[in-house]
């Protein structure tokens, strides 16, 4: 950075070369930097350094609004605080009740699917991050947050708030990270319409309250009010997180595609805090593991190519032949009258839930059905849920 002091006091055409020469030099440098950054993604290291250098400036940029918020909070009246406290308490109680119910439902679901590890939620760990800077122009919708590599943040990490999806990290510095919002025109998120299961892609419209669904045919079953959730494709976001609600559907007889707009559920323009989420890689709902660079979804993701093995097969050395037998034998028992539960090596009674998922007998129920097999049929259903140990 001290470079532009060196020419001081010398004639204009001095040692630094003529302005034309120096400009050519810097222009060539800029072009090389652009090429490396755009095509090859070589400059992660440089990005990292520059992000670190820029962070103090960003803090300075943010300081007026921080000071304003601090002032407002410290001058809030006692009544308002009390009212807010009561409100929060009621909300917390409500959530606790609901999460009690959720635990029960999740366990039930796990039992139904016969998956030992369906019960722990797909999100492994959360970290709250404060928004340091926000850019909401029609060209760029980005956030800067105050967590970075020292907190374990990585590139293409999912960012949520308490209502829905916000975006993903694009550049990570040591103490800060840049988040591209789902409403950025350069961002696309694979979604599923919750009501119908129809999968499509939601593209940012350059406006904090709008997403566009440009790839739906005119006769697609979608209507205003439909909830969009992540579909789990794309390798960044796990399946089933709420994204947006459809606000308007235009069907034009001339156009082959419907024009659909949706409003993100996350309060992107008013949030002051977001959540960074780490997902369990071995969870069935988790995004497929990525080789590192997804970033802006322009280039294809290598990890999403067809894979020779299903991601979470990894059965213990012996079981596959043994596991198939009880699973296939168990399927008919639940379908109709239990013919002979004892005949199937006591595996089915030990694990009745395994039998009620007959649709995919060779893939998912295999590990759970194989592990309880050596045990006698002493333990009834709810046991496997709280102890999610891997078969290995």
């Amino acid at each position: 950075m001290a470079a532009f002091g060196t020419a001081a006091g010398r004639p204009l055409q001095g040692r630094g070369g003529s302005p034309g020469f120096r400009f050519t030099l810097y222009a060539a440098l800029a072009v090389v930097v652009m090429y490396l950054d755009q095509r090859e993604h070589y400059l992660e290291q440089l990005h990292y350094l520059l992000q670190a250098a820029a962070y103090p400036i960003q803090l300075a940029v943010n300081s007026p609004s921080t000071a304003w918020q601090w002032m407002r909070q410290s001058f809030e009246s006692r009544e308002r605080l009390q009212a807010e406290n009561a409100h929060l308490r009621a909300g917390a109680r409500d959530l606790e009740l609901r999460s009690m119910r959720y635990e029960a439902l999740a366990r039930e679901n796990g039992e139904l699917r016969g998956l030992r590890d369906a019960v722990p939620p797909v999100a492994d760990r959360w970290l709250a991050a404060e928004i340091v800077n926000i850019q909401l122009s029609s060209l760029r919708q980005r956030l800067l947050i105050d967590r970075g590599a020292v907190n374990g943040v990585f590139r293409a990490q999912a960012v949520l708030d308490d209502r829905g999806l916000i975006g993903q990290t694009t550049h990570v510095g040591p103490w800060s990270a840049e988040v591209i919002l789902i409403t950025d025109p350069a961002h696309a998120v694979p979604v599923r319409i919750e009501r119908t299961g129809l999968r499509t892609i939601a593209v940012g419209a350059g406006d904090a309250t709008t997403l566009a669904l440009p790839y739906l045919p005119a006769n697609a079953d979608i209507k205003s009010g439909d909830l969009l959730v992540t579909s789990g494709l794309g390798g960044v976001f796990p399946e089933g997180y709420p994204v947006a609600r459809v606000t308007e559907v235009h069907r034009d007889a001339v156009q082959p595609l419907a024009q659909v707009r949706a409003a993100p559920l996350a309060h992107i323009d008013t949030d002051s805090e977001v959540m960074l989420v780490w997902f369990r890689a071995d969870h069935p709902a988790a995004p497929a593991p990525t080789a590192g660079s997804v970033g802006e979804i322009r280039s294809g993701n290598r990890a999403m190519q067809p894979q020779p093995v299903p991601p979470r097969a990894a059965p213990p050395p012996a079981p596959p032949p043994a596991a198939r037998a009880p699973a296939s034998a168990a399927a008919p028992t639940s379908a109709v009258v239990p013919v002979s539960p004892s005949a199937s090596r006591a595996a089915a009674p030990a694990h009745p839930p395994a039998s009620s998922a007959p649709s995919e007998p060779e893939l998912q129920p295999a590990p759970p059905a194989s592990t309880p097999a050596p045990e006698p049929a002493s333990e009834p259903a709810p046991e496997p849920a709280p102890a999610p140990k891997e078969p290995q």
Partner: protein, 157 residues
């Protein structure tokens, strides 16, 4: 130019950078002049040896970290603007403020065009005419801005 002047230059460029990335409501954001370009242009015209192309390049690179789709975009555009400023500094300096504003408008248009072209090449095309609005507001704000920046250092360099 003395070291005192160099510190002043860096400080003003830093302030301009902060003003450029300060979050603003969208309608104001469209009107916001490109303060960093104006500051760099001012220093390349009025202190072509101290400031100049290197200043433009590094200021642009820093701006790219804040808001570029690709690193080097604004570095190139700002280096070009400051090259124009350095090359024509005597001609620009001798003009009255009104004519200077017209030249600044042209320089801002060049800057925005380079940014626009690289946006397109790098796959982020935005063809909204709103992106050109700041060239007008930048030209309008130039006379007072130049007066503020030039305070105390008139006739230098």
């Amino acid at each position: 130019m003395n070291p005192y002047g160099r510190g002043r230059m860096l400080l003003t460029v830093l302030v301009a950078l902060v003003l450029t990335v300060l979050p603003l409501p969208p309608w104001l954001d469209v009107l916001r002049p490109a303060f960093l370009v104006l500051a760099v242009l001012h220093w390349s015209v009025n202190a072509p040896r101290t400031g100049g192309i290197a200043l433009g390049f590094f200021a642009g690179l820093l701006l790219d970290v804040f808001q570029g789709p690709v690193l080097g975009q604004r570095a190139l555009a700002l280096a070009l603007v400051s090259y124009i400023g350095v090359r024509e500094h005597q001609r620009i300096r001798s003009k009255p403020a009104f004519q200077q504003a017209i030249i600044v408008f042209a320089a801002l248009a060049v800057y925005e065009f380079v940014v626009f072209a690289i946006d397109g090449w790098s796959g982020h095309p935005v063809t909204s005419p709103l992106r050109w609005v700041h060239t007008v507001t930048g030209a309008l704000i130039w006379p007072p801005l130049a007066a503020i920046l030039g305070q105390g250092s008139a006739g230098h360099a």
